[in-house]
Every structure is written in C-alpha cells, then in structure tokens.
C-alpha cells in the first residue's frame, strides 16, 4: 500500500473514539466480521490502529476505501462541521427526466476531473435518496489534500444540497457548477442559512419541523402546559395576570407550535439603515450614509431560547417577526436596508 494512503488510513482510524470503533467499522463494511474478530479491541488505541491498518493492507484497501471510511466517520460526527445550504433551480417548463444516481455520479466526477486534474471524489449512498459526496481538492501541480475535504449531501429528489463549510473557498463555484450540471439543473444559489445541525437544516428546508408530537396531551388545558413553569402550584400563590399569561402562552404556541424547534446556533442581522431619531438635530441625524451595524444572537439552541423569551417575561409577546420568521423563511442571515 502506498505510504500516503497508509498514513491516511492511520489518521482516519485514530480520529474515531474507542467507544464508537466497532460501530463505525461495521458501518464501513469493508473488513468482514471474521477479520474484525481477529483484532484485539481491548488494547491501547495506537496498537489497535496499527493492527487495523495492517488488516486493510492485507485486503488491498484503496484510497477510495479510506475516503469512504472518512465519510462514515463524518456521518457519525456531522456536528463537527458547519453546513451551508444550496438550492438549485431549473428553467420553467423544462422536461425533468427520471433521476439516475449512477449517471449523476459519473457526470459529477467527470466535470470535476476535467477541470482539476488532481481531485479525489468518493460517494456513499444514504437513506431518502441522498448521496454523501467527499471531495479532496488538489491543483494542477499538487496531489489532493486528504485532510481538508469538503462534504456534500445531495437529496436527489429535491433541489437542495448541503455542503460543509471549507476554508478553501476558491473551489466552491466549480463545485456548484458540477452539482448543477450533473443533476440537470440550471442555476444554483446559496441560501442564507447555516448551522452545525444538518438534521435541523433538513427539517427547515424540507418543512418537516412542524409535526406535532405527543397528540395525547392535546386535551390538557392550555395553562397546564406552561413552558418551563412548575404547574404544581401552591393554592396560596395567586397569579394576578393569569389572563395575560395565558395570552402570552397562546401567542407563543401559535407562533412556534407545540413541536420541538429545529436547532440553530445563531441568527445574524446586518443593518444598513440611516439613523432615525425622535430628537431634532444631533450629529447622527444629519448623517447621509447608512449606519452599519451587526447584531448576532447566539445560543446552544436559538429557536427554543426565542420561544422561551415571552413566557419568561424577558420580552413582550408577540416577538418581532424578524426573529420568528427564521424557520419559515429558511434564513438565519439577514440584511436589513432602508426601504
């Protein structure tokens, strides 16, 4: 086996946490059950990795097999990447042929390889007619860098593709082109939506987040399903603004629904508006140029945090539509200009 390939195998297997080793190797499905049994999984990680690499060598594993292992690892650790969303479109009135996965893969590979001599492309099919594509970029004179790949998850029955954010941004237009042509679309556009949580991005983009769970709870009265507040209240405690509280709960439920929100880590608003003030005069009021300002909301779970704001008394209900439109519009990057 080539030295660089062996090194790539070693580094990829080393990344895998011991607790997940068996699961990931089984999902990779390259080493058979029998072969895995010949390895001692209780030894120190370095020795285990050496044994596994030897096994791969004996089985004549190729660079592509290592790339597939890398895909499997990333599928298990998708939160380690930040994902962008792209939407493709066709010309109106165009005939749409039946999608052929193999033809897509061939076409995609051809386009990239024609443009860049040195590039490693690997595919792994996934559920829901999706395909995970791993691309390691090289250049005319350099071999592909296997340690900075880009991942693309394309749902073939939809115009959407998710790509992992990469520092090597110069190749993104080429990637977009390859995707578009291979999937028989005309245009590709980057959406203003980004998150670590691929499944949440999927839910937002495919509008799958608004399914009500636990329908057996729907018969309990509204005030008992208060968000985050203890419902076993002492009868000596009386809420004076009960009606207002119920209104806030109702408005919040209407805006956010009963279902768990998709997970985003931030929302960013870029303002380019002129300064508006009630006071007459003042230095800022005379300024012709728009003020530039960036506001970023971060949270481990942004939408759930926004949902909890009004019931917690930190904000009035209803919340600003700029905040509540995030899942509906499928955006978490906004540019606000004067009309």
């Amino acid at each position: 086996m080539d030295e660089t390939v062996a090194e790539f195998f070693k580094r990829t297997i080393l990344k895998i946490p011991m607790a997940e080793m068996m699961t990931i190797l089984k999902a990779w499905d390259f080493l058979s059950e029998n072969q895995l049994q010949t390895v001692n999984f209780r030894q120190r990680k370095e020795s285990l990795v050496q044994d596994l690499v030897l096994l791969c060598e004996k089985k004549r594993a190729s660079l592509n097999d290592a790339a597939i292992l890398d895909i499997v690892y990333t599928q298990f650790h998708r939160h380690q990447k930040v994902w962008d969303v792209f939407r493709m479109s066709r010309e109106p009135g165009e005939d749409i042929d039946l999608f052929d996965m193999e033809q897509f893969k061939r076409s995609f590979k051809k386009i990239l390889q024609r443009a860049l001599k040195n590039v490693t492309i690997s595919f792994r099919d996934a559920e829901e007619n999706a395909v995970w594509i791993r691309i390691a970029w090289g250049s005319q004179y350099r071999k592909p860098n296997q340690y900075r790949p880009v991942y693309v998850v394309y749902y073939s029955q939809t115009p959407y593709a998710f790509t992992s954010s990469s520092q090597l941004r110069s190749n993104i237009p080429l990637l977009g082109q390859a995707l578009t042509i291979a999937s028989k679309h005309h245009q590709i556009m980057k959406m203003d939506l980004r998150s670590r949580y691929l499944d949440s991005l999927k839910a937002i983009v495919f509008k799958q987040y608004n399914q009500t769970f636990e329908t057996h709870n729907s018969t309990t009265p509204l005030h008992e399903r208060s968000l985050g507040l203890d419902i076993n209240m002492d009868s000596r405690i009386i809420h004076e603004n009960r009606i207002e509280k119920e209104r806030v709960q109702r408005v919040t439920q209407e805006t956010f629904g009963y279902y768990p929100q998709p997970r985003l880590e931030f929302a960013q608003y870029k303002l380019e508006t002129k300064f508006k003030s009630d006071l007459n005069g003042g230095i800022l009021a005379e300024r012709e140029e728009p003020l530039r300002c960036l506001i970023k909301f971060s949270s481990p779970h942004l939408l759930e945090a926004l949902k909890a704001l009004a019931p917690a008394g930190i904000a009035d209900a209803p919340l600003s539509p700029l905040l509540t439109c995030i899942p509906n519009k499928g955006m978490n990057y906004f540019k606000i200009r004067d009309k």
Binding site: D230, I237, E240, K245, P311, I314
Partner: protein, 180 residues
C-alpha cells in the same frame, strides 16, 4: 379601581398577603415557593403580578406588602416597575412597599446600574434589598426576611408597625444616600 390602597379592605383573620411585582415570572414563582416553605404563625398568601394596575377583583384580600422586583440584567424589568409604581397610592409608601434588586452578582450581565435602583428606592422612601434570586441559598434567606417583613406589615407582630420598621431600616442606611 386602578390604584392600590393599603387600607381599603378589611384584613383577613390571621392572614398576611404579599404582592410581588416583576416581569420575570419564573423568579417570582421560585421566591413565592421559598416564602411558603417558611414556618409562620400567620397564614401567608402570595400574589404574583407582572405589572400594575391589577385586574379588578372583589375576592382579592388586603395587600399588606408590595415588593417590586427589578432584574438588573434587564432595562425592560426596570421600566415595568417604574410604570407600575404610578398605580400605587402614596399611603402605601409608609413602610408597605419595598424594592428587590436581583442579578447584581453577575456584573457583566447588568444593564441597569446599581445606583439607578438606589435612587428609585430613595425617591419612594422605601427600603431596597439586593438578592440574587437565582441562587437557592440567597433566595431562601431573602424569603425568610420577606416573611418577617410581611408579618410586621400585616400587624401580626405586637408592638411593631410597618412605619416603625421603615424608620428602623432607614436609619441604618448609608448617610451618603442623601447626597444623591
């Protein structure tokens, strides 16, 4: 009846009622729970309100003590208290009103300056207490103090009235307050 008056209803037998006014429901709820855990000879009732005026209600008992809770992390909560103060009759401020400021422990999150609430309390001649209601230990201690204050304001402690308590609390205040 949009203005709260201290003596417009008859007192309940052995009952003491406190009204907590503040935007952050969860904190008020926890404070109320802590107060009700205290051993107390009087029957305690806790009313929680986001703001004043209160919706009109015939069944509401006489309110013996109002505590306005301001979260120093939120200008919104300060503004809410300032607006609610307009719906309290002047006679309430003879020892039956207090201010409670929470969140002072996390200085970096404070958007309301300490002096703002100090001045507010001084304007209304009422005591100001500081307590991080999010910390259980502090909350329990504050609950004890409030229960004691409430009993005095309800007249359940012989020989001590709300006005007495007010002068006691005021004389121990920092004299530089007068300079503000």
């Amino acid at each position: 009846m949009s203005v709260l008056r201290p003596l417009d209803k008859l007192p309940g037998l052995n009952t003491a009622t406190i009204l907590l006014v503040g935007t952050e429901d969860a904190l008020l709820q926890q404070l109320a729970d802590a107060m009700l855990k205290e051993d107390c000879a009087s029957e305690l009732k806790v009313h929680l309100a986001k703001s004043l005026p209160l919706p009109s209600s015939v069944t509401r008992p006489r309110i013996d003590l109002i505590m306005f809770v301001v979260n120093l992390h939120s200008k919104y909560s300060l503004r809410n208290v300032e607006e609610s103060l307009h719906h309290v009759d002047a006679t309430f401020f003879l020892g039956k009103v207090g201010f409670l400021a929470t969140g002072a422990g996390r200085e970096s999150h404070c958007s309301v300056h300490r002096n703002t609430v100090v001045k507010l309390a001084h304007t209304y001649r009422s005591p100001l207490l500081f307590c991080d209601l999010e910390v259980e230990g502090f909350r329990a201690t504050m609950a004890q103090r409030l229960v004691r204050m409430l009993q005095i304001c309800a007249g359940h402690v012989p020989g001590l009235s709300a006005l007495n308590l007010l002068s006691l609390l005021r004389s121990s205040e920092n004299p530089s307050l007068e300079d503000l």
